[in-house]
């Protein structure tokens, strides 16, 4: 697995802000996502009521997760499939590699799966000499660019069309494509022609899961390219990788969740392809795999289930929080340094790799609340980020500078009389420095502010001194 780089967040921000291609790509993408979601939500009617239903479905499932997991396993087994339990990424990789080795797999096709990123699957397969072919267009783009996803549903969102033209031009010559294409349909078509061949060659197809349905053991998968269907059905073996939080009780619950998911993610009423897979090919089926495996991954999920972060397990990976996050929009997904970026990633990353490694993520947020206001399952993301800050403070992981500042400020704020005297002095000094200009161009210890903005100077004496002097007016 690629090493996490979340500890480099702060140091990687300036380069991201100065990257003209990234900025162009992000600006365009965020506007598109926000506008489309807004339209879809207003067309739906009472979307907030649907969000409450989604939250209720997930909360209920999480409260009885043991039951639904066992029910799901029994149903998968009944349809001839296998369920494997992985406590961590290493176990998950081992299970998948064992299956691939047993069936002598040379080629693997993959539908989009963030859990496969989480467990570092591609590198593990390649190290074992198995060729991995990403079939989701965005994943395909970043695979040939040798990058990681910067968004959970639009992995190549950080790239401009021009960059993709160059990338295809540089990589597709060996397949006989020598023209540099510039139009999106032509680019998609070229990738599609290359990927078609991959499906035919695939021994194993690996997909993620949007919803695992306990009552019938089915996996519901949404895509817009149909690559999920082809990955499931055209290989000898289909492996599903999913976190244990993907369970929903019934097919009807899953359809409610899809209504929430597609509108929140891409502003669609329905995805172009919605695939239900359950078990291997049965007698009389015209297609389908010979073997069907589901690898259920825990990582820190059971720990979260019993903690103040349980609500995070409601997450359905729609990406709306990052699409609406002004910080994510400004810096893109890569600076977050691990698998999941943006607000949901700023909660998940510290829980997975540790606050010591990812201490910036919960703090690089203005707590403006826009993420929580669009979350389809009402996850209180700002509250969760604040709880991580609390853990950080209580573990002494926040900076010495910040702790000293808080201590001094706290000593003043809890002593109103002292506070009055000192603030009166501070205001007088600032007014003297401003010399009637109304603002300060620089201020000691406030470079973070004054390097890019003026500091408005106090407009008079403090309110409290004026008020006590004038009395009420």
């Amino acid at each position: 697995m690629k090493a996490a780089a979340s500890h480099l967040f702060k140091q990687r921000v300036p380069a991201a802000l100065a990257d003209a291609d990234l900025q162009a790509a992000m600006g365009k993408a965020q506007d598109g996502f926000v506008g489309k979601r807004e339209q879809a939500v207003s067309d739906y009617g009472d979307f907030d009521a649907l969000r409450d239903v989604g939250q209720e479905i997930k909360d209920h499932t999480l409260a009885h997760l043991d039951y639904y997991l066992e029910r799901y396993e029994a149903e998968v087994q009944r349809s001839g499939g296998h369920v494997h339990w992985a406590r961590n990424s290493e176990e998950a990789r081992r299970i998948i590699l064992d299956i691939c080795e047993r069936v002598d797999a040379k080629n693997v096709t993959k539908g989009k799966s963030m859990v496969s990123e989480e467990i570092g699957l591609n590198d593990a397969l390649e190290e074992s000499g198995i060729a991995v072919h990403e079939t989701d267009l965005g994943e395909y783009i970043i695979q040939i660019a040798r990058e990681t996803p910067s968004h959970i549903i639009a992995p190549a969102v950080h790239k401009t069309k021009d960059q993709i033209s160059d990338l295809f031009h540089a990589n597709h010559g060996r397949y006989g494509f020598h023209q540099r294409l510039t139009e999106v349909p032509a680019l998609v078509n070229e990738a599609r022609q290359i990927l078609r061949q991959r499906y035919l060659e695939a021994d194993v197809g690996i997909t993620g899961a949007n919803f695992l349905i306990a009552e019938n053991g089915a996996n519901l998968l949404v895509t817009n390219e149909g690559n999920g269907d082809l990955t499931c059905t055209m290989s000898r073996v289909h492996i599903v990788t999913a976190g244990i939080e993907k369970l929903v009780p019934t097919l009807e619950d899953a359809t409610a969740m899809v209504r929430l998911l597609t509108r929140s993610a891409t502003g669609q009423e329905f995805s172009a392809y919605t695939t239900l897979s359950s078990g291997p090919r049965r007698d009389g089926d015209q297609d389908g795999p010979e073997e069907y495996h589901v690898v259920l991954v825990d990582n820190v999920r059971t720990e979260m289930l019993g903690s103040e972060f349980r609500s995070m397990l409601r997450c359905i990976r729609c990406g709306a929080c990052m699409n609406h996050c002004p910080v994510y929009g400004a810096v893109g997904g890569h600076v977050y340094g691990w698998v999941y970026p943006g607000p949901m990633g700023s909660v998940l990353t510290p829980l997975n790799i540790g606050l010591e490694q990812a201490g910036d993520l919960p703090n690089a947020c203005t707590l403006n609340g826009r993420c929580g206001s669009v979350c389809p399952v009402n996850i209180p993301l700002p509250d969760l980020l604040r709880r991580l800050r609390r853990r950080q403070h209580e573990a002494g992981l926040d900076s010495r500078y910040s702790r000293a500042g808080l201590k001094l400020w706290s000593a003043l704020a809890t002593r109103p009389a002292v506070y009055r005297v000192l603030t009166r002095c501070g205001v007088a000094v600032m007014r003297m420095l401003a010399r009637g200009r109304g603002r300060l161009g620089s201020l000691p210890l406030a470079g973070g502010w004054t390097d890019s903005r003026d500091m408005p100077a106090p407009a008079g004496r403090t309110f409290h001194s004026l008020y006590r002097q004038r009395g009420r007016r």
Binding site: T366, S402, G438, L440, G448, A459
Partner: protein, 271 residues
Amino acid sequence: MNTPGKAPRVGLFVTCLVDLFRPGIGFASIKLLERAGCEVEVPAAQTCCGQPAFNSGDYGTSRRIARQVIEAFESFDYIVGPSGSCMSTIRAHYRDLFEDDPQWLERANRLSERVYELLSFLTDVMDIDGVDAEYRGIATYHDSCSGLRELGVKSQPRKLLGSVAGFSLNEMNDCEVCCGFGGTFCVKYPEISTRMVTDKVGSIEASGADTLVGGDLGCLMNMSGRLSRLDQRVKVYHAAEILANMADGPGIGEAEDAGRGAAPDRGRGQG
């Protein structure tokens, strides 16, 4: 809470930024509340709501400050302040601090129900739908995040400002997107904050407005500071100043001799 015929007693929570940087907003608040029929008092034992500590994860300090605020204000009918952000801390978050302390939790909850942001208090509790004020200008309004998303402050300031003679509103794009202030965020992550406030200033400029209005001084100082650094000629006022007819002096961050109508001094401030 409101006894008919008796003026409600309102404790004004001044906020630390208004106390330090813009006392006029405090006096404007008093004027608006008194005109609305309230009896206003300003308890002396107030400093800050504790939000900087709370958002830094320092619950110990936050609790000490919260107790101080609760003690100073719990005898009033209402607690009102000219900031969505501070009032939301008191109204929505004090209870988070006392999860393990039933006695203080009870006091925090009892206070919470009576805590209001100034502009929404005037419309939603005091049923005010207009003011007697004049401001000649084309303004644009920034919806500060906590007020908007935690307290539902959106239509109330627009309704009140709509009654100001001469006042017209040109909404900017993305008026609900954060300006990049975020309390300590703006100094902890100055590059990201600068990028966000620069985007915001672009939206303000594109609106064609000559005045920026909002309900939270922190955000207004952030935007004013970036506007003046970029030499943008936009006046910045808190909504309370305009509604109280007290926006005839210099705007936020403007030179002291730049009264209403005079050309603003655009030389860079020096420290």
